[in-house]
Amino acid sequence: MIEISHLGKRYGDIVAVDDVSFKVEPGQVLGFLGPNGAGKSTTMKMIAGFLTPTTGTAKVCGHDVQVQSIEAKRALGYLPEGAPSYGEMRVADFLSFIADLRGLAGAHRRQRLDDAIQRLSLEGVLSQPIETLSKGFRRRVGLAQAVLHDPPVLILDEPTDGLDPNQKHEVRVLINAMAKDKTIVVSTHILEEVHAVCTRAIIIARGRVLADASPDELEARSRYHGAVSLCTPASAETRELLAALPDVASVELDAQDQRLTAFPRPGKQIFDQVSELVRQRHIAVSELALERGRLDEVFRTVTSGASGAGAAA
């Protein structure tokens, strides 16, 4: 469990993190979203006990990271941004060094090492120096290091950055597999990732928490939520027919792929009306879809500070 209250970090006059409070329970995977320089990494570094907060407190499993730092660090697995390690060390040596520092011993140590190596498919590179590995393997070594002692709390700063699609998928499977009983915080700026692994998302920008909700709730804030899009050759006349429907607020035409999107009036469902219209008027459609909402649009709206843009909200 992670409890953060009024956490803040200031460098001289620059406020990196400003009064951030949240709580993450076991079983939750919290996605930490935000533009670059929003304060994601700084917040994670403070939870991990690397940076000293200017204000507020962070608790990991009930241990204040400043007061009981050793206990807090023991309960925590941390993947720093960029997955740093000691380049000249061989993977096997590096992992056993971490196992020693984590105080693992005997059969348990052996079993944890085997488990981490197997989970991250590191068997083939154990005797290679880390600096000779590809970016994806280095990231996996960093992840293996973080999960080595089977910690109840995991803080992963951009765990899939620099990985290819297959590796990204593997890391997401790994996170999902561990999500059951652990408290996990993942930072990312890949929005598809949020749906793939997170049960909850926090959007942070300029050091402040701007949104804290489940991915579905965030999507519901999108003006695309509940909108219906369709592709048809007869786009001009269809556009007018759609606009004439009682519950349709507006219709937009994407100039690039000729896709029409009809936005509902607040609180209305329009999919049935639109499909009924298509059937009655025999409009040839190649595609007809109910939009769930677009996270990237919500992200932009929230982080650019343009609060008036949420027309459908």
């Binding site: 460098y11 570094k45 991990a48 006990g49 690397f50 940076l51 000293t52 050793i70 206990e71 660090k73 023991r74 925590l76 941390y78 720093p80 941004e81 960029g82 740093p84 390690s85 000691y86 380049g87 000249e88 060390m89 040596d93 060094f97 971490i98 020693d100 520092l101 984590r102 105080g103 011993a105 120096p129 290091q145």
Partner: protein, 246 residues
């Protein structure tokens, strides 16, 4: 040894030998130590079987450039590669991290120093030296190396640029080496009261080193080196705490 300091110590020491750094350092140290002894020190020409003058008296100047080359990477590299973040989020204290890395560097310097043993064999073969005095000389040299390393470790934490760390360490070690000499004291004499000038003079590495290297092991000199190392390592921990954020 499963203490965090021991674990760090072993990793660090092994890392020296994982790269050519260790071998280059040891070879250069041995070549220079030999060259100084035989050419500048006139080891054979003196006709005396001792090591204080021809061997140990050159160590401060040898260390002045070689030890900063060893210490410059200690923390600057950790900060540059970001591994400092990994290290300091392990369940260890700051002082354990500082000590583990420092002791490994010191042990490495000790290995280089111990490899000068042929000179000790030579002097015993040629004559009948005071081996107690030679042992004291080695002790003094080892303590001096440790003090330089403590300074270097602290200054290495202040920057992520190894070249800056190297130059800063050379300058500070040079000033501390010559603190008892007019070169340094004249700067302070103009505006500091005499007792403070005397205090600065007593900080000189060279004064304390030369008395030990002549075979006189005075408790005050040992305490001096101990305090010096302790002070710089404590400062090291403070500097890391202040600078790790940027």
């Amino acid at each position: 040894m499963n203490h965090p300091i021991g674990i760090l110590f072993r990793r660090e020491l092994a890392s020296y030998f994982a790269t050519p750094v260790a071998y280059v350092f040891i070879v250069i140290f041995l070549v220079l130590a030999g060259a100084f002894t035989f050419y500048l020190g006139g080891f054979f020409e003196r006709g005396q079987a001792d090591l204080a003058e021809p061997f140990f008296s050159f160590h401060p100047w040898l260390y002045l450039f070689l030890i900063p080359a060893l210490s410059m990477r200690l923390w600057a590299e950790e900060r540059k590669s970001g591994s400092i973040e990994l290290l300091l989020t392990m369940p260890i204290t700051m002082m354990q991290a500082v000590l583990g890395k420092y002791l490994a560097a010191w042990a490495f310097a000790g290995i280089a120093l111990a490899l000068t043993f042929p000179i000790w064999i030579t002097v015993n073969f040629l004559g009948d030296p005071d081996n107690g005095a030679i042992l004291a000389g080695y002790l003094g040299s080892f303590l001096l190396a440790g003090s330089f390393l403590a300074v270097g470790s602290c200054l290495s934490a202040a920057t992520r640029n190894q070249v800056i760390a190297f130059i800063l360490t050379v300058v500070v070690c040079f000033l501390l080496l010559l603190a008892g000499f007019p070169l340094v004291l004249d700067v302070f004499r103009a505006w500091l009261p005499q007792p403070l000038v005397d205090a600065i003079a007593s900080l000189s590495f060279l004064v304390h080193f030369s008395s030990i290297s002549k075979g006189v092991i005075d408790l005050r000199d040992l305490v001096y080196f101990g305090l010096m190392i302790g002070f710089w390592l404590y400062a090291n921990a403070v500097v890391i705490d202040l600078k790790k954020a940027d």
